[in-house]
Symmetry: C2
Subunit: 184 residues, 2 copies
């Protein structure tokens, strides 16, 4: 049925104004005509980087999780290694770099398992999820905004952490649940 | 191991300035001390509403998907019924309202299957995913920003839509993959 999907936007952009910008996002205030033809506004959060998340699985079926305090939600969070990939880097190369920086891991095998829109009601954040296997441990080198702990958990335990609410990060949940199905 | 998670933020907020606000988000520019003690900035996208997504499953094992053009990513997107729940409404009541508005469906059974942080690097958007069953069809009443199509697909076909990239919305991917596992 997707062949009959609309190919043109029912939204019309009347004007666009940059209201905020930093190294990670810019905020755009648009005046628009809505799908019903009436005037409205849309605030779009534009992400400068492409999100990547990596399910790094070792040969004992354990997955690498990183723990860090998330400033935005003011809570500690156990997540997959994740990061932002700038436009001049491919998602794969960026994922390899992020995994190395956050965990010190190198992976011999990389498989792309989803391309995603992270939160499309208000942001344009796109991302790619990878499964990384054939792992080798090296040294980590997190940046100054990161205070990370690395933890290896059985894949089944990682799923249990979703079930009981110890993992709340949606990217981590989507990636782990998806890898769980693909590996069955 | 979570009992040893830090209980205090390694971040320190020095100042906070509201740089933009609309009905859906406000944008806060903070001066901070980073986890390594050095000065930095953090732009936080605060969501006014709590996100909900509903996996509505009928007695023939079909799931309700809604198609709409997403202004942010300028693309057509097939997703679960989703919406924003204001602070004066509980996530469950908001999910029931969103499902009714977007699809006309009433559900006799509601089960919460995850509480999530949607995109915690830059936003504080929290959400709840529900499984809704025992469905009854009524009339839909989408708002003016929505131009929705409703489609019933076999649950296995919905998973296939993730596999081949026809579904990219992360909330939809996480919820469908998760329900797939919980129902096995």
């Amino acid at each position: 049925m997707t062949e009959t999907d609309p190919t043109e936007s029912p939204w019309r952009q009347r004007s666009r104004r940059l209201v905020y910008q930093n190294a990670w996002v810019s905020v755009l205030h648009d005046e628009v005509d809505r799908p019903d033809g009436r005037p409205g506004i849309y605030g779009v959060i534009h992400f400068q980087n492409h999100a990547v998340a990596i399910v790094a699985l070792d040969d004992r079926n354990r997955v690498a999780l990183v723990g860090q305090w998330r400033y935005t939600i003011d809570a500690y969070s156990w997540e997959l290694p994740e990061g932002g990939v700038p436009p001049d880097e491919t998602p794969l190369v960026g994922a390899q770099r992020e995994l190395r920086e956050e965990t010190g891991l190198h992976a011999g095998q990389w498989r792309e398992i989803a391309r995603i829109a992270v939160s499309n009601s208000v942001t344009d954040e796109l991302g790619t999820i990878f499964l990384a296997t054939d792992l080798e441990q090296g040294d980590a080198s997190p940046d100054g905004t990161e205070d990370l702990r690395l933890r290896w958990v059985d894949f089944a335990e990682a799923l249990a952490m979703i079930d009981d609410g110890r993992i709340t990060d949606l990217l981590t949940i989507g990636a782990l649940e998806r890898v769980g199905r693909l590996r069955r």
